[in-house]
Symmetry: C2
Subunit: 473 residues, 2 copies
């Protein structure tokens, strides 16, 4: 409907973000506290994410299934760390129809429980392994503070849950899926994320270890976007998922889980968008090109149709805007919606044999001959935009990447301009908690890069890990 | 894992059904009462259904969105018929984390409420109309008796919710979407369903009228599989969804909703499958062809690879089974899983230049020269199977379609062999309730066919409607 004006990004980042979400019709608040309605433009991005990731998962041998939304309390309680981690933030169903339930159910905050419960009845021998299952579904976590896409009580995600006959194989799976998430961010979303292992404090409740994919937003705040967990036999022991191994002995399975969510849409916005609205990398844009006629002569309209058909037949996602809105209005709409390329075809220009391309990322206007090879030209321009957006994001990330050698330096950085802060750490949780006191700064991940100076940024004692720190969403 | 034996369909239909669901790995019971786990083979059918329907919806101008899972009680209560219709069967969330909620939420049994709540803030002028939204999601209804796919507490579905500027346009949409469901059943699922209007008693709570798509199972029991509702302005008045019409006057929008669910998988099974397991029509089969080598000579394996590649490159969904199981085991597995065509390639046969095709629907073996045009041959055979399955289903439906002129006749039919029973009706609910006393027989739909003898099958008075009756799942 109304195209709200967008607050300046540099002036008020939080307000700018919600303005873009609203102006680009990505999502809308609802009468349900902390839950959003994902609107057509937002859902189309999620569909595109699903399409690309699902194809990759299937290529790697995974299949989709669907487990129940509800988890009986007794089942959830079998794994103590999991229940401690999630109990404070689950929603409880206590009534069915007009009857009080004998046992209450929680709405899944994640589905390790249900997958274990399933696997225990469906695996008996090493021949049944591995099971490489994934599901696309909704989950609920009773968050206090919420923000569209980034943190909402209900969100959509995919959760892979695999079980294996050996530790080695399960660890390989955990790594592989983190590589998929990294690939997806770098190659498709044009987001130069970093990956590494979570500290003990920050890992998933019940996991042996957690790998994480961390993206840096334009404002220097980090966003966890994709995690991959190795469970070892923790859950399989709690839920009694056993198999006969090759030596004909009963053994508990080795397990992983990995997930990405609709919060990646939030990441996309906060890395690439600007004061004019959404900016989408071509590979994830549901619509890559829009053609807008100026005037309605048959010459103009014929060319619009011709280009549309040519592009469509060559696998480019294209629309044309033939509504009776003014050209200026259409331009603004294409811009706020983040369509990577806008093609303007006007009567006057055509007389000079010219058409205009407008790049959404740079807002640059390029005048070309109408006789150019439109398919080749657009394909190359889309690739250029994708590459340029990635490079700009790398530049921004690098500009906001710092190194700290002591607490004072860390404090200075966080008070001036947050970002990814590299600093050595002794491995002691006391130090981790002390750092957290500075604006809630947390360890993003432990990297495999060499130590910086070998001294803990907090206590100055011998460091064990090179850690990347940052404030998070 | 273990391939359970399947009870004979004619001996115990209910047991046969659950045996097929289990043996074909479509779904499994869970620790959550009334909720199933949809296994890979079952979910793949749902993905195929989604793919085909979603494409059709989008061709017709619909876009996907996602509304919240939870509905505040106060919002649900705004439309009295809806709340009366659904309140007895919703699940209530009363706690978030460890806190009792101020207002309880129900888990959506359907989403008219949430769509109205959204539309009221996003529509102001006739220029904003129509809104043609759909969502793919899970819903929950606290059913007492459940059966995999046919009736479970949680199920997956799509729900379209559209709003329009005129009654005429909304009615057209209601009809059009019923045509889509009918097309989907006849052309894709090979199920010769019938369509018509529900009686006042059987229509959706709050609808002006409901159109329904009704399929007849092998045992003569009917299955409602897809409904399309016209709401007029009932909901838009209750939820205050208004727009400025072309005459610049405020008017309430005209609304529709329409849905199909995972119960269609149950319908597929009960129309087509047999004592050997699942039988799938080629157009909905996730895997259309499986190639099974007998022996492991390079000649055999090369041909398996060659055929696989040829079929795959021509848009046919094909797998090969190269595991170390015995050929007989592989044949049985392909059979129980309902793969339409099995290609057997054996060393001995190849010496005679022969390969064998096995149709799943008829279990017929066809020996052909290995030099045939495999792509052409398989494409034609898939189409033949699709057509033959449809024709057999029509034959079965017609065999189980009856006509009744009085209550005695109706009773006789229902006690001997249930099916679709054509009979005239006066339109009085008393008669409808009296008929229901015979084995729970309900009106399936009012057809537009002419009256049979003009007399109500129950009271003998003047009939208003030609109705199709039947026992239902």
């Amino acid at each position: 409907m109304k195209n709200k004006s967008i607050t300046s990004r540099d002036e008020d980042f939080a307000k700018w973000y919600t303005d873009v979400v609203s102006a680009a019709h990505l999502a809308s608040y609802t009468s349900v506290k902390g839950c959003i309605a994902i609107e057509p433009n937002g859902y189309a991005i999620w569909e595109k994410m699903q399409e690309i990731l699902d194809k990759k998962f299937k290529e790697l041998g995974h299949t989709n299934v669907q487990m129940p939304l509800l988890i009986p309390e007794s089942l959830l309680k079998k794994e103590s760390e999991l229940v401690e981690g999630f109990a404070p933030e689950v929603a409880w169903v206590t009534m069915g129809g007009s009857k009080e339930l004998e046992e209450r159910y929680c709405i899944r905050p994640t589905s390790e429980t249900m997958f274990c419960d399933y696997y225990k009845d469906h695996v008996s021998s090493y021949r049944d392994l591995p099971k490489l299952y994934n599901q696309w579904c909704n989950v609920l976590r009773w968050e206090k503070e919420t923000r569209p896409f980034l943190r909402s009580r209900e969100f959509l995600w995919q959760e892979g849950h695999t079980i294996h006959a050996t530790e080695e194989e399960a660890i390989k799976e955990t790594d592989k899926m983190m590589e998929v998430y990294k690939w997806f961010h770098h190659e498709i979303l044009a987001i130069p994320s970093i990956t590494g292992r979570k500290t003990e404090k920050e890992k998933f409740a019940g996991a042996e270890y957690t790998l994480t994919n961390e993206a840096l937003m334009y404002n220097g705040v980090a966003l966890q976007a994709g995690t991959s967990h190795y469970f070892g036999q923790k859950f399989s022991k709690a839920y009694d998922v056993k198999f006969l191994n090759k030596e004909n002995k009963l053994e508990h399975v080795y397990q992983t889980s990995w997930g990405t969510t609709t919060r990646m849409i939030g990441g996309l916005i906060m890395v690439h968008s600007d004061d004019y609205g959404l900016v989408l990398p071509p590979r994830i844009a549901p619509v890559q090109v829009t053609i807008i006629p100026i005037g309605s002569s048959s010459e103009v309209l014929d060319l619009v149709d011709k280009y549309e058909l040519l592009l469509k037949n060559n696998g480019i996602s294209v629309t044309k805007d033939l509504t009776d809105k003014s050209p200026g209005f259409k331009f603004a709409e294409a811009e706020v919606n983040g369509i990577p390329i806008r093609v303007e075809i006007g009567e006057r220009d055509l007389k000079e044999n010219k058409i205009t391309f407008v790049r959404r990322d740079t807002r640059e206007k390029i005048v070309e001959s109408k006789d150019l090879d439109i398919v080749k030209y657009v394909k190359e321009l889309l690739e250029t935009i994708q590459k340029d957006m990635y490079n700009r994001a790398v530049e921004r990330r690098d500009k906001l990447t710092f190194e700290a050698h002591n607490l004072k330096e860390m404090e200075n950085i966080l008070n001036t301009q947050p970002g990814f802060i590299h600093a050595d750490w002794c491995g002691d949780e006391t130090c981790e908690l002390k750092i957290k006191e500075i604006k809630g700064c947390k360890s993003r991940c432990i990297t495999e890069e060499p130590l910086i100076d070998g001294k803990c940024v907090c206590c100055g004692k011998e460091a064990k890990y090179h850690v990347i720190w940052g404030i998070q969403y």
